[in-house]
């Protein structure tokens, strides 16, 4: 039994002018504790797929099972992190990170302490919780957003290009932090990205999506030597360029097919 099972997903967007098939014939499974990346050009339906898995969007066809139950019934098992932090600017950091617990009516002394401890583990202490988001830097805010997502203790994490709005240095540091945190808590995660390096550095497997309609073109298994390293170490490992080249070639061939 797989942790997450995505079966025959098709999705079509309807507008007055047209019906666009965004995803077609998507099936895959993810094991518990695994880190999977969805890599592909923009417009290949990566975010649509994430929204379907987290049951924010209902697929036209197909099903998503989390521990053999449909995802629509498994509330609070899935956490979602967006491209930008989307912290509520009028709420303090503390109110922001406790939001998920408050909404799912699980806010008590124990869960609150857990959330505040998470904040400390992310290197955010010294009265940060009483501040407003605009007083924090971009990297700090994205870390707060991660705490907000983890505070409800989701089993599965959706990361929708969470590092794309950050500067390069912050991005590398955050990759390490997220990767370390997810491994420590033994979380399963699906990362959407268009950055090949990021996909290799963070994942156990990389799914390459083709565009219009989005299908799984190829699955790359990341070599074992790279899996247990931190993302930063992976980028500097001797095995890294070969994997990068392989994925790069495949992406090139995809582009040519489309032209």
């Amino acid at each position: 039994m797989s942790f997450l099972k995505v079966q025959d997903i098709h999705h079509t967007y309807f507008t007055k002018a047209s019906a666009t098939t965004a995803l077609s014939n998507i099936s895959f499974t993810v094991e518990e504790g695994e880190f999977v990346s969805l890599l592909g050009p923009s417009g290949c339906g990566k975010t649509t797929l994430l929204s379907i898995i987290s049951s924010l969007l209902k697929a036209t066809e197909g099903s998503v099972l989390l521990k053999n139950k449909p995802v629509s019934t498994s509330k609070n098992e899935i956490g979602y992190m967006l491209q930008q932090d989307y912290l509520f600017p009028w709420k303090t950091i503390e109110e922001n990170i406790l939001l998920g617990l408050k909404l799912s009516k699980r806010l008590n002394t124990k869960t609150k302490t857990y959330a505040l401890n998470l904040l400390k583990q992310m290197g955010l202490n010294g009265g940060v919780e009483k501040q407003l988001p605009k007083q924090l830097s971009g990297g700090m805010r994205q870390r707060v957003a991660l705490v907000r997502t983890l505070a409800t203790e989701p089993k599965l994490l959706m990361l929708d290009e969470p590092f794309s709005a950050l500067d390069y240095q912050t991005k590398l540091k955050l990759e390490d932090l997220v990767s370390h945190t997810l491994k420590e808590f033994h979380k399963t995660a699906i990362l959407v990205t268009h950055d090949i390096g990021e996909a290799i550095a963070m994942s156990d497997r990389v799914f390459l999506l083709s565009t219009r309609p989005g299908t799984i073109h190829k699955i790359f298994e990341i070599p074992d030597v790279l899996r247990n390293l931190s993302p930063f170490e992976v980028r500097n490992h001797e095995a890294y360029p070969a994997v990068f080249q392989a994925i790069w070639k495949e992406l090139e061939s995809l582009e040519q097919e489309n032209e």
């Binding site: 987290s54 924010l56 899935i78 979602y80 967006l82 509520f88 939001l99 909404l103």
Partner: protein, 268 residues
């Protein structure tokens, strides 16, 4: 190093000083305009260059102000008008926001009501005055209704637009936590629209005064609007100008209070 520091401090001090001087000049010009306006008004009226019967004069208005304060009639009328305006303005804003919330809640209702909102917005609401007065009786309720009705539709439209413009990603965040539509409204839509609601308050201050004054014209029993219409009928334009000046002062005070509220609520 120390020398550099003191140099920067000196420059900063000079900068602050120049700001202060500029502020003083602005104030000086403002005072000059004020004095020229009232001074020439008084002068022209004294010399009979303008018809003192129609345009009155600052000294006569001041005189009348003192008598009206002494016999208590100004305060009574002012109290009436202020009460009506404040209630009309609060009611208009609250009802408008409530309507906007209903429209946001149900896209179906908003689609159905769309043409009616356009018509109601385009229609001059004060034209409803006679109907309101006959229906609710000539007194507080009908005049407060006038003050509210004039601002309610425009508030609805502006606030609803701001509800719709809230970044959908905030809602996505809430939905991933399983928030209901009510929770989405409470946690994201309403707080994100607070700045817009406050700025409609500012517009509504002015609108409510219009509604209430016209209402008092029609009812003609008490209030500053009544003072204006009475002054007009007995050709006492000093009374008309006095009421106008009092309205100007209190409308400004109300506007400033809303401005203060804005600064308190939106900590930026």
């Amino acid at each position: 190093m120390n020398k550099k520091m003191s140099n920067v401090q000196l420059l900063h001090r000079n900068y602050l000083k120049s700001l202060k001087i500029e502020k003083r000049w602005v104030m000086l010009y403002q005072i000059i305009i004020f004095l020229i306006f009232f001074g020439s008004w008084e002068l022209f009226a004294q010399k009979q260059w303008i018809d003192p019967l129609i345009f009155s004069s600052p000294s006569k208005i001041l005189e009348l102000l003192i008598t009206k304060i002494q016999d208590g009639s100004l305060l009574t009328n002012l109290g009436v008008t202020l009460t009506e305006t404040v209630f009309g303005f609060i009611l208009g804003t609250l009802l408008g926001t409530l309507l906007a919330a209903i429209l946001w809640w149900s896209p179906m209702i908003s689609k159905v009501l769309d043409p009616y909102l356009v018509i109601l917005n385009a229609m001059p609401k004060v034209a409803l005055g006679p109907v309101l007065i006959v229906a609710m009786g000539p007194g507080y309720p009908s005049i407060i209704a006038m003050g509210a009705i004039i601002s309610v539709i425009i508030t609805t439209i502006v606030v609803y637009t701001s509800f719709k413009e809230v970044d959908p990603n905030y809602l996505k965040v809430l939905q991933t936590f399983g928030a209901t539509r009510y929770e989405c409204f409470k946690e994201a839509i309403l707080p994100a629209s607070f700045p817009t609601i406050i700025s409609t308050l500012k517009v509504n201050v002015g609108l409510s005064w219009v509604g209430v004054i016209v209402g008092e014209f029609l009812v003609s029993s008490k209030g500053l609007g009544y003072m204006i219409i009475y002054g007009f009928q007995v050709f006492n334009f000093t009374l008309v100008f006095l009421s106008l000046l009092v309205i100007a002062v209190f409308a400004t005070i109300m506007y400033q209070l809303v401005d203060l509220l804005e600064k308190k609520l939106i900590k930026e």
